[in-house]
């Protein structure tokens, strides 16, 4: 990982880092825009290039890469007599982070905010950002006093590509597998926002083929996410509310209905915790009265308890539970249906 510190020829990456750093220093130091020929003289690594063409190609690439890093390298006229030749420089006022004085408690919460990403693909930028803010300050480790460690994970392979597209407003295409479908389908979208909700990442987007807003779960995107347009090539509606959209489309709040369950004594703890009333029937059974939302998901939960929980009411819940259990039995070679 480390480059060689003494002896031996420096690696290509090392030479390039030196070249880029010298270029930044030269352009920041300049009081006036510099012409390419001056830059070639001042940055020794350019002086070594074989031809003017080779130098110019290299310089063009370097310029793009510095701008990609967020370094404000600008093109300006050198003076009135040289208006056919552009000059280059970096203005200190645009380069430097504004002077912000953070209080110790503010630095502590910033530290916590940065470490929220410690186990995610954005761990690098998060640590770098904090280091920049703390460059001037004398920090004390007061984060631990807050006593909590929030952690976001980005285990979904599509995360980085989708995040970049959301941040830069780039249209995307990807293969999306719906939960009930055997095969994935191609989707073309304008990505609006990215939301972590109940521990999972969701993409809110405008689906270009369906001409409607859609919510995509990142873990169901398979294969490569491809850019399908230029950055900033669409607008996100001003009234788009990321959380509201995920809430309304991914989660479904339904009405609740009452159920009566027979629960074995010493079992069904989570159900008892939610119960309106719990009555003792005998030494073996309790009667638990509670409310449930969606019949299918509650039937799954009840079926999970197996022989420890029996539905008394309502009949539709009994049907749903029995269907699950029969399905399980048949899939494992039982029943005679």
């Amino acid at each position: 990982m480390s480059s060689q510190s003494g002896g031996g020829a420096p690696s290509a990456a090392q030479v390039k880092t030196e070249r880029l750093l010298n270029l930044v220093l030269v352009l920041l130091y300049a009081r006036r825009p510099l012409a390419k020929a001056q830059i070639r003289r001042l940055v020794p690594q350019y002086g070594q290039s074989a031809s003017t063409e080779a130098f110019e190609r290299m310089f063009e690439r370097d310029k793009d890469e510095l701008r990609e890093l967020g370094i404000p390298l600008v093109t300006e006229d050198i003076d009135a007599f040289h208006d056919d030749e552009p000059g280059y420089r970096i203005h200190q006022r645009d380069y430097a982070l504004p002077d912000i004085a953070f209080e110790p408690d503010e630095l502590a919460v910033l530290g916590l905010a940065s470490r929220t990403w410690a186990q995610a693909s954005l761990a690098g930028p998060a640590a770098q950002a904090l280091r920049k803010l703390r460059a001037a300050g004398v920090e004390r480790d007061t984060e631990s006093l807050i006593g909590i460690e929030p952690r976001l994970r980005t285990a979904e392979p599509a995360f980085d590509a989708v995040k970049d597209a959301v941040v830069r407003r780039v249209p995307l295409t990807f293969t999306y597998r719906r939960p009930e479908a055997a095969e994935g389908a191609e989707r073309r979208v304008q990505p609006w926002s990215l939301v972590s909700w109940h521990g999972r990442w969701y993409l809110n987007a405008w689906d270009l083929d369906r001409e409607a807003p859609r919510v995509f779960r990142l873990s169901r995107i398979s294969g490569t996410v491809r850019r399908a347009g230029r950055p900033g090539s669409f607008e996100v509606p001003a009234d788009h509310e990321p959380r509201v959209m995920v809430d309304s489309m991914a989660g479904s709040a339904t009405q609740s209905s009452p159920a009566m369950l027979r629960v074995r004594v010493g079992a069904g703890h989570a159900l008892r915790l939610r119960a309106r009333t719990v009555g003792e029937v005998d030494d073996e059974w309790s009667l638990v009265d509670l409310d449930y939302g969606d019949v299918w998901s509650f039937a799954e939960e009840v079926a999970g308890y197996g022989a420890d929980v029996v539905v008394e009411q309502p009949p539709e819940l009994v049907d749903a539970v029995v269907e699950r259990l029969r399905g399980t039995l048949a899939a494992h070679g039982g029943g005679g249906s």
């Binding site: 910033l110 998060a126 259990l325 899939a331």
Partner: protein, 332 residues
């Protein structure tokens, strides 16, 4: 974990441009301490200083950056034009703003005022770079009572032992335990208390929404020296070496299982053979597996080993026996 990829020239440049102001403001800092705080090895830091030493706004000696680390103390000078950090980039701004906003939603957080002040300053400094941050939204964890979270944090801060009444849904058990708290972590949408459990005599993660009761005891709660924080980078589930490995066939409606549970291996099944997946899952006890399979209602099933198949079949039959009218007499 894959090996760390080779650092690119531009990535290294970005790191150096952050490192220089940091060092300029800490003249004479110990080399090893600086490396640790900067998150690099000592060798890497020395290589970085060596590189800085070769760079300048010109190539005359007085134009080059001064870097000196002899005697293990680091001095960096003649770097005025990069003595302030580069503005925050888009990803950097997004991580901090999204992180602070997530922190703001933590129930009962005493530091909310500090979060708001930090957010205001950061948004002002970031300018337009703050705009994309409004399109990324993260929630650390949901629905845990502020009261429970506050009591867990108090116990941690005052180093007190806690008594828990804790539900283990996988085994449908309510357990009583004394725990020495180590940290409170919000991950994958849930809050957990990690601590030394005196009942298990081991480190355990307790999901706060499964805690029925938490009382702070008037007993010292310093965890024993062997208590080690678990690495949560792969999630909260931890398979053990002697776990049973079970092969599951997941039909298309049940492939969420491989999203939720860490799998040993995963194979996609082509659509011509019904689609879905075949996964292998390691598990210490099969109670949760039985529960999962009954929930799936046949959309996922065990293919191996055979004794687990038989157990699941018997469990489902026993549960159906609770509905005698639907199974025997009701169907003719």
């Amino acid at each position: 974990m894959p090996p760390a990829p080779q650092e690119t020239a531009t990535a290294r440049l970005a790191r150096l441009l952050t490192m220089v102001p940091w060092l300029v403001n800490r003249q004479g800092i110990d080399l090893e301490e600086a490396a640790a705080d900067l998150g690099v090895s000592t060798e890497q830091l020395e290589a970085d200083l060596q590189l800085l030493f070769l760079c300048g706004y010109g190539q005359m000696p007085d134009e080059l950056i001064e870097a000196d680390w002899e005697g293990g103390r680091v001095f960096v000078g003649n770097a005025d034009s990069i003595a302030r950090p580069l503005r925050l980039g888009v990803d950097e701004t997004v991580t901090l703003i999204v992180g602070l906003r997530a922190l703001r939603e933590v129930p009962g957080l005493d530091e909310r005022d500090a979060v708001d002040r930090a957010l205001a300053k950061l948004e002002a400094a970031a300018g337009e770079a703050a705009d994309p941050a409004s399109r990324v939204l993260a929630e650390v964890a949901d629905d845990t009572s502020a009261d429970l979270l506050a009591r867990a944090r108090t116990a941690l801060a005052t180093r007190r032992r806690v008594h828990l009444r804790y539900l283990v849904p996988a085994r449908d058990e309510a357990t009583e335990r004394d725990v020495d708290p180590m940290r409170v972590v919000g991950i994958d949408g849930r809050w957990y208390l990690e601590g030394w459990c005196h009942r298990a005599e081991d480190t355990r993660l307790f999901r706060l929404d499964r805690v029925e009761e938490l009382s702070v005891l008037d007993v010292d709660g310093t965890p024993p020296p062997q208590a080690a924080e678990r690495d949560l980078s792969e999630g909260t589930f931890r398979p053990a070496p002697d776990d049973l490995v079970v092969t599951l066939r997941l039909l298309p409606g049940a492939t969420w299982v491989s999203d939720y549970y860490p799998v040993e291996s995963l194979e996609e099944v082509p659509a011509t053979e019904g689609g879905g997946q075949v996964v292998r899952i390691a598990t210490a006890d099969t109670a949760w597996l039985h529960r999962l399979l009954r929930r799936l209602g046949g959309r996922g099933y065990v293919t191996e080993p055979a004794d687990v198949v038989a157990e699941v079949r018997e469990g489902a039959a026993a549960a159906l026996a609770g509905y005698p009218r639907r199974t025997a007499a009701g169907e003719r």
